[in-house]
Symmetry: C2
Subunit: 143 residues, 2 copies
């Protein structure tokens, strides 16, 4: 998996016209380099362990700014808590394992937008699968 250097992260922010403040930088660095589709809480915990006295609001602010700039992409995977994914990468779909809860990146057909009815302007597409991942299938079978 591609790892983004701090330099690269700063560049991403600069290009979007966003000041690379220390916390913002950290939020993006975490989401970009830990491709676990984390929720705000998880990101907050990381930042809080790195710097003392960080407010949760700051994390939310940063996330909103980054989503606004289309650097991050909010994801809803059936738990009513928003997850975050790096937007600047090949379009892909997601698979959530009902057993272990993990979220996997999957393929996305290139022409998927054509599935929408004519006359509608598609700006974003989300394809989500839910089911059981190979590892969990194996675990269930060996019972």
């Amino acid at each position: 998996m591609e790892i983004f250097s701090e330099r690269k992260i700063i560049e991403m922010l600069r290009q979007a016209g966003i000041r690379p403040s220390i916390h913002r930088l950290s939020v993006l660095e975490y989401v970009a380099n830990n491709r676990t589709h984390p929720v705000a809480e998880e990101i907050y915990e990381f930042i809080a362990s790195k710097y003392t006295g960080v407010s949760k609001t700051t994390v939310y602010n940063s996330l909103h700014t980054l989503v606004e700039a289309q650097i991050l992409r909010p994801l809803e995977m059936g738990s009513n808590t928003t997850r975050y994914d790096l937007a600047i990468q090949k379009p892909h779909s997601h698979f959530k394992c009902k057993s272990c809860g993990k979220i996997f990146d999957m393929n996305l057909p290139a022409d998927i937008d054509k599935m929408a009815a004519p006359g509608f302007r598609v700006e974003s597409t989300d394809l989500h699968f839910a089911g059981v991942c190979p590892k969990c299938i194996k675990i269930t079978e060996n019972k």
Copy 2:
């Protein structure tokens, strides 16, 4: 759009082994016959206007029971509030208009499940589009 008679709704519940209590019946009737993908609040308001003294918990209970029985299908369309859709109908995708907020039913490719990586057991698929609907495109153009 197909309208489900009370008789039909009761039959659906019976077949799933669910007692057709008056509120449950009402919840399902509302979701089945008002294909607006309503949220719990909207359903509650309908029920509350029909019968006095209905608890919101009852609506949530009914919705859970109906989802459990796979009669309804929970939907998350980017607002962290769950919407409900009738499950017993042709599989379809959804389009949310960013301008008017309306949700439209769209086509769903029959072989979409094959897009998941091999080895994964797909149990449900959600395809969501977001963008602008034809009506709202027109409104924006005439400015």
